[in-house]
Symmetry: D3
Subunit: 258 residues, 6 copies
C-alpha cells in the first residue's frame, strides 16, 4: 500500500526527510496564496489560535491548491463535526489539539477514517474536484492524523496514545506543555522539565514508528528540533512573520532619523 502518490508529506517522511510547515492565522485567501508561493512543504490553517473561522477555510484551500503545497488544518477542539467538514473541504490532514487519552486519540483518528477503520461520513464534495475520480477509493486512509501532545496528562498516557492504529504523527505544543507541567509541579506531583518532556515525547514517537512534530518560533529552533528527530516542523505563522518583518524595517528607518 502506498500513499506517496497522493500525499507528498508521507513521501517525505518515508524518505527520512523533514516537512517544513508554517501556520496560517490571517483569515485571507490572498495571504494564504502568498505563503503558499514561498516553498513550504505544507501549511496549516489554524482554526484554534487565530481569527480564521470555518467560513474562511474553503477560500484559503483554493489559494493553496494553486500551488503544490499540502494543506493541513488545526481544529479548535477534538470534535468529529469540524474534522469531517475540513476533510470534505479538501484538507490533506488534521492536527487535533489537547489529545490527552487513548480514547480521545481513537475518537480523533476515527473521525478521519471511513469504516471499517473509523466513522467518517462519506461526502468529499470538493476534494474530488481536484484529486481525480479515484479519490473516493483512496480517500479513506489518506488524511494525515496528527495528535497534539501538550499536557501532563498526555505525557502520562503517551504509550497508549501512540499505539492507536492510524495515528500518523504527534505534534508537540511547547507553550501549553510548559504551562501544564509547571501547574503540575506547583501541585508537587511532578518534577519534569518541558525540555526533558519534549525529549521523552520524541523518543516515544520514534519507538512507535510515528512521526514527531513540534512548533518552533525561529529558524534556529527549527534546525535544532529537526536535529533532535522531529520530522514535522511548524515554523512560526503568517501573523508573526508579518509583525516581525514590519517591526524590523520600521526600526531600521527610525534608526536613521536621529
Amino acid at each position: 500500500m502506498s500513499h506517496s502518490d497522493n500525499n507528498r508529506l508521507r513521501s517525505i517522511w518515508q524518505a527520512g526527510g523533514t516537512v517544513f510547515n508554517s501556520m496560517l492565522k490571517i483569515p485571507s485567501a490572498f495571504a494564504a496564496e502568498i505563503m503558499a508561493n514561498q516553498g513550504w512543504d505544507s501549511l496549516t490553517i489554524d482554526l484554534q489560535h487565530g481569527p480564521v473561522s470555518d467560513r474562511d477555510v474553503f477560500g484559503m484551500l483554493q489559494a493553496i491548491f494553486t500551488t503544490s503545497t499540502v494543506p493541513l488544518v488545526r481544529i479548535p477542539w477534538n470534535e468529529p463535526s469540524i474534522i469531517m467538514r475540513m476533510l470534505d473541504a479538501g484538507c490533506y490532514g488534521v492536527i487535533g489539539p489537547m489529545i490527552n487519552t487513548r480514547a480521545e486519540a481513537e475518537a480523533f483518528v476515527g473521525a478521519c477514517r471511513y469504516p471499517p477503520e473509523g466513522y467518517r461520513s462519506y461526502g468529499p464534495y470538493r476534494t474530488g474536484l481536484e484529486a481525480g475520480p479515484d479519490y473516493s477509493d483512496r480517500g479513506s486512509d489518506t488524511p494525515i492524523a496528527i495528535a497534539m501532545i501538550e499536557t501532563a496528562a498526555a505525557l502520562h498516557n503517551l504509550d497508549a496514545i501512540l499505539s492507536v492504529p492510524g495515528l500518523d504523527a504527534i505534534f508537540i505544543g511547547p507553550n501549553d506543555l510548559a504551562r501544564s507541567l509547571k501547574a503540575q509541579q506547583h501541585g508537587g506531583s511532578s518534577e519534569l522539565d518541558v525540555t526533558d518532556a519534549i525529549d521523552e515525547i520524541i523518543a516515544a514517537a520514534q519507538r512507535h514508528d510515528i512521526v514527531a512534530g513540534i512548533y518552533t518560533p525561529t529558524p534556529e529552533d527549527a534546525v535544532r528540533m529537526m536535529e533532535q528527530g522531529c520530522q514535522f516542523i511548524a515554523l512560526s505563522a503568517d501573523a508573526y512573520l508579518l509583525a516581525s518583518a514590519a517591526g524590523q524595517v520600521l526600526k531600521r528607518v527610525r534608526a536613521n532619523t536621529g
Copy 2:
C-alpha cells in the same frame, strides 16, 4: 489655522519631520491590526494595486482606529465616488493615482473638500463616531489630499498641478514614472531619466511648499529618499513584507538540511 490637533501627519510635517507609512494590500482587518501595532505613523489601504475592495475598507479602518496610526487610502482611479465614500468611512487622507493635469488635480482636491473649497457631499456617518461632535466643522479642510505624480505628462504639468489650492502633498510612483519616461524616450520626445525626474519633482514640491512623498521598497531606499527631502515615505507593503519574511526563514532552515 491649525490642523495639528486632528491630523497627526500635518503636525509631523509642520515640525519638519518625516511620515513613515506602509501599504496595506491584504484585505484583512487582522493583518491591518497587526500592521497598525508596529508603530507606523500612517498606513495606506491600497485600493489600486491589491485585492482590497471597497467592502474591506471599513473593517480595516476599525482595526487601525484601535491604535493611533493615521489611516489613508489609495483609490483605484481619480473619481469623486470612491473619494467621498472613503472620506465618509473615516480615512484621514486620500492618495489619487495618475494625476496628470491641473484639471485632474482640481477635480481630485475638490472631491476632498466641502463647499466653497470643493464639492464633497456631506454625510460623514462614521468619522463623526470617533472624531467628536466638532468634526463636521473641522471636517472640510481636514483630509489630506495627495496626488500621485507618475507619468511624463504629470512631469510636464508639474507647476500647474502643484499650484492647485488645497493640495497637501504629492506622491511619486517610481515604477509607473520609469515606464512612462522610457515609453516617451522610445518615441524620442524626451531624454529624462527617472532618477533625474524624481529630483526635479521633489525640488518642485519644495518650491511650492508642498510635501514630497515616494514609494520605496527597502529601508535603505527609504532613508535615502528621506535625506533627499521626502517627508512622506511609503515603505513596502504587508504583502511584500510577509512574502519576504516567509521566504527568508524558510531559506535559513533549508540551508541547514543539507
Copy 3:
C-alpha cells in the same frame, strides 16, 4: 399606461398619498429585514453616505423582498455602471445624488431606461426571478428615477432638470443644499436661504408634475414637509434610529442610579 401594478410607490403617488421611507446605512441583511418588517412603504439602501457597499446590496434586497416594502437605492455618484447593476439586482428605483444640470439629469434617467428612452443594457438577472416572466417587457419604464437637488447649481438649473422626460421625482438633500447656499452667500452671489430654497424646489416640482421628496431627521419634520407637499419622505436611517434608541434607554437607567 399604468405602472401601478408593478410599483407600489407610483400607485401611492397617483392616489395623492405620501411615501414614507427610511435609509439603510447598516450593511446587514438582518438589520434590513428588521426595518422591512416595520411597515415602511419603501427603504433606500444608501451607497452614498454609509458603509454599505455594492457587495452588500444583493442580500439586503433579498431581506426586503421577504416583505412588501419597495426597495430603492441611493448611488454614490451619478454613474451608469452602478445604476445598471443596482437595477439588475432588483432595486425598484434609484436616487442619484448631486444632479446639477440638465445633461446630468438626462444621463441619470437614461441609465435607468432601455432604448429608445435610454441606454440601459439588458440583463435583469434577478428581478426576473421575483417579478414574473413579463418583467422584461414592463422593465424599461418601471424603475423610479429620483434626482437629488442639493446644490446652488441645481437650484439655478431647476426647470431644465425638472423637464427631463422620465424623471419621476426629485429628492432634496437639506444638509448639502444649506452648505452649498452658504458657500455661495459667502461669495456674495446669492442671498437665498435654505428654507426658501426648499419651498422653491417643491413648488417647481409640483409645477412640472414631478413628485417632491426630502430627507427629514424626525417625525415632526416629516409631518411638516408632508404638509408642504412632499410626497416622498426619507425619515432618518437605521443607524441613527439605533444610536438614538440605545442612547435613550441607557440615559433612562443611568438617571435612576444616582
Copy 4:
C-alpha cells in the same frame, strides 16, 4: 490580587456598582460601533439567539475596541471550542447558557482558565495586540465567567453551581426559566413561580459573593432588577432597539396622515 486595572467590570462590581450591558444580535461591525459609542459599560455579542456567527465576532470586537466599552460574548452552548476561540479573539468575558449542574459549571469555568485553575489552551493571538506585553501573565484569571441560570434543574443545583471556584457571576434568563418552571409545574413536581425563583437566585448569588445578573427588556425592568440586587443588567438588544425605534417614528408620522 486586583483585576480592576485590566477589566473595568470587576472594578465596577467591587465598588458596589451595576454594569449596564446590551446584547448585540446584528452581525455588523458598524452596528457594533454605533452601540459601543452610546456609553454602555459592556456589550455582549450574542452567538446564541441571533444571526451573529463565529466569523462576525472578530470585526465586532475591533469595533468595540475603538471605545472603552468592555466586550463580552454569549456562546451558543457550553463547549470549550467556542469559549477558547472567543477568549483568544479578545472577549473579556463569556456568558455560558444552560449551565444546569456543578459539572457543567466546572467545565465552563475551566475552559476560561489556564492551568492549574483550568484547561484553556494558550494562544491569545489578538488580545495581546491591544492589552500589552504583560497580558499573558495576567491573562489566566482575567476573563469573566458568567453562567446562565435558566432551568428548573439549575435552580435545583444552585448552591453546587455557585460554589464552583472561579465563577464570577450568574445571569438569569427569565424566558427560559419561566418556560422550564411552567413545564415542571405541568408535571406537578414544583409550584415555584418565576418571580420567586428569580428572588431565590439573586439571594443565593449574594450569599456566595457572586454577582447576580439578568436580562431585562425595558429600562423600567432594568431599574427594578438593579434595586433587587442585580449588578449586571443586560438591557434589550440592538435588534430590538432598532425595531422599536423604527416602529415608533413610523407610527408617529402615520398618526398625522389621517
Copy 5:
C-alpha cells in the same frame, strides 16, 4: 392538533403525498434563490457535506423566504448548539446525521423542542419576523425532526430510534449505509445488502407511522424510491446539477467541432 397551517411539509405528508427536496451545497444566496424558484417543496441547506458554513445560512434562508419553498437544514453533527441556532434562524426542520442509538435520537429531538418535550432554549429572533406574532406559541412543536439512518448500528437500533416521541421522519443516507454494511460484512458480522437494508428501514418507518426519506442522485431513482414508499425525496444538489448541466452542454458543442 394541526401543524398543517404553519408547515407545508406536514400537510403534504398527511395527505399521503411526497415531498420533493434538493440539497443546497453552494454557499450563495443567489444560487439558493435560483433553486427556490424552481418549484421544490423544500430545500435542505447542507452544512454537513458542502462548503456552506453557519455564516452562510441566514442569507440563504432569506433567499428561500422570498418564495413558498420550505427551508430545512442538514447539520454537520448531532449537537444542540447548531440545531438551536438553525431553528432560531428560521429553518423549518433539521436533518441530523449519523443517529445511531435511541439516546442520540432523544438528544436530537429534544434539541428541536421547547420544554417540556425537549430542552431547546427560547429566542427565535428571526422566525418571528416572518411567521407572525403567534409563532412563539406554536413554535415548540413546529420544527420537523429528521434523523439520518446510515450505519449498521442504526439499523440494529432501528425500532428504538423510531419510537422516540417527536421524531417526524427518518432519512436514509445510501452511501454511508452501504459503506457501513460493507465494513461490517468484511468483519463477518452481517450479510445484509444495502438494498435489503433500505427496504427494511422503509418498512420499519411505516410501521412506526414515521415518514421515510432517502437521498437519490437521479429523477429515475427518485421515482423508484417514491414508489417504494418514501415520502421525502432529496434529489441531487445544486452543485451536482450545475456540474452535470455544464458538462452536458459543453459535450454537445464539442461533439460538433470535429
Copy 6:
C-alpha cells in the same frame, strides 16, 4: 512575437479554433471551481449582469487557477478603474460592454496596456504569483481586450472601432443589439434586422483580422454561430444552467407523481 505560451486563448485562435466559454454570474468560488472543472476553454466572471461584485472576483479567480481554464472578466462599464483592478487581480482578458465609438474603444484598449501602447498603471500584485517572474516583461500586451458590439451606434462606427490597434476581439451582445436596432427602427432611421447585423459584424471582424465572438443561450446556437465564423462562444451561464437543470429534474419526477 508570440503570446501562445502565456495565453491559451490566443493559441486556439491562431490555430483557427474556437474558444468555448461560459459566464459566471453566481458570486461563489465553489460554483466557479465546479464550472472550471468541466472543461471550458475560458470562463468569464460577469460583473455587468449578475450579483458578482469586485469583492468576489479574487476568490473566483483562485478557484479557476486550480485548473487550466483561462479566466476573463466582463466589466460593468468601460472605466479604467475596474479594468486595471481586474487585470492586476489576474484576469487574462477583459470584455468591455457598450463600446460604441472609436474613442471608447481606444480608452478601453489603452486601459489594458502599459505605456507606450496604453496607460495602465503598473502593479500586477497577484498575477505575478502564478505567472512567474517574467510576467512583468510580457504583461504589457498579454491581456485580451474584447469590445462588445451591441448598439446601433457601434454598428455605425464598426470600422473605426475594429481598426483600433491592440483590440483582440469583439463580442456581440444579441439582446442589447436587437433592442437597440428595434428602437432605431421605431424612429425610422434604420431597417436593419439583428440577424443581418450579426452577419455584418462577423464579416467586418474577419476583414480586420479580429476574432468575432457572441453570446449564445444553447449548444445549438453555439454550433450555428461557430459555423458562421465566431471563434469565441459564450454559452449560457452558471445561473441559467443551474436553473434549467433543476427545473428539468423536478419536472421529470413530478411527471411521475400523477
